[in-house]
Amino acid sequence: MPTNVDAKALAASLRRLQEQPEGHSLQGSLQQVVDACVQLFSITGSGLMVADAQSVLRYAVATDGPGMRLEDVQMEAGEGPCLLAFVTDELVETEDASSDPRWPAVTEQIRSLGVRAMLGVPVHLSGIPVGSLDVYLDTPHRWDESEKRALSRYADVVEAMIEAAVAADRAGELAEQLNYALDYRVPIERGVGYLMARDGVDHAEAFNRLRRAARGSRRKIGDVAEQLLDTGRLPEEAR
């Protein structure tokens, strides 16, 4: 087979790219995928949150300042559409987040950011929920079924990007977060199921109890879940 000079030049170019810090980094890849999201859906902004070792969603990337603050606000308050999408592993929509009674602790701050309609979908790594993809508009909007389907479809692309990026870039805090979520999601899910059955609560409340127990005991949520499964008790319920 004849040697193709163009292909070699391309390979050399890719090798040069690999040496650049932001060439194909996990962070850069996720940033690109949320940037494209804005172009594709004609929305005001988009962001991606990823769960940390306490299974608390953390800001990963966002397209703009309000998008970043939006993630921080929900993270600090422990409530909001993005968090709910992750906890319930289901799409969450709101016509106007700045007046939605489901999240009273964050509505005022959301209003001050100029954020109104929001749509959040869970994202997965190898089938395990690890975060949420969120889009927002600066005006109230009733999301129709085609828009919801489209964002869920795009979440598939985001997941493919996350898998490819984690495989390619295994270093860094974000990669550690994703790896932790992957390693401990199974015991966490089992712990949530245990609390749902034991306490008669829904998935979101069971997850929040587990999360609060982890934060209260300053332990990782995976460890707390494993203890719960071993002993039947949360740390705060110890004798």
Partner: protein, 195 residues
């Protein structure tokens, strides 16, 4: 959605220049990722079919992925006759918007190679990896359609995502075997890489 896994594997290998060193590691993750991405594109853009052409080891465009037989037929024809929107996008390093394939005289050989011809409007967006155009993403409709600037910009953004995925795959393959736990299950391994 059918993915020509062998063609894909060869394209990835060419991109990275690691064909000789690979010794056949599984590359099904990028195959699955590309499949998801192409299928999603058809839904997101509301088109009838989507295909991806990538450069092979000889620098020739090869049909790598197609969401339906419609895209597969158009891509194979482009590969055979060497003309078409994908080739033009490659040459121009920019998007090519075709309202009606039958209205472009230069595409006569392409149309003659497709029987029956059902593809009419095509938007071909270049796929970049670093500073190189390594192929193109093709959105295909069966009706005559004037592509809007919004569609063109969206296709460009989406093709950039595809390029990033390919770049990440190349990076992973250079680093060695891809982590097993991020390898989706249920996808056949490709064992004939480079054969």
């Amino acid at each position: 959605m059918p993915v020509d896994e062998r063609a894909l594997a060869e394209s990835i290998s060419t991109l990275t220049g690691i064909l000789e060193a690979m010794a056949g590691p599984p590359v099904q993750p990028i195959s699955a990722h590309l499949s998801v991405t192409v299928t999603a594109a058809a839904d997101l853009f509301g088109v009838d079919s989507v295909g991806v052409l990538l450069l092979d080891g000889d620098g020739e465009l090869r049909a790598v992925a197609s969401s339906t037989a419609l895209a597969a037929a158009l891509e194979k024809a482009q590969q055979q006759v060497g003309v078409g929107p994908g080739h033009d996008a490659q040459a121009r390093r920019g998007s090519v918007l075709v309202e009606d394939l039958t209205a472009v005289p230069e595409y006569a050989p392409l149309l003659a190679a497709i029987e029956p011809l059902t593809a009419r409007a095509v938007l071909s967006a270049p796929i970049w990896v670093d500073s190189e155009v390594v192929g193109n993403l093709n959105l295909i409709r069966t009706d005559v359609h004037r592509w809007t600037p919004v569609e063109a910009r969206s296709a460009t953004a989406y093709a950039e995502v595809v390029g990033r995925l390919l770049g990440l795959a190349a990076q992973s393959l250079r680093q060695g075997p891809i982590m097993e736990r991020v390898v989706p299950t249920g996808h056949a391994e490709i064992t004939d890489v480079g054969t």
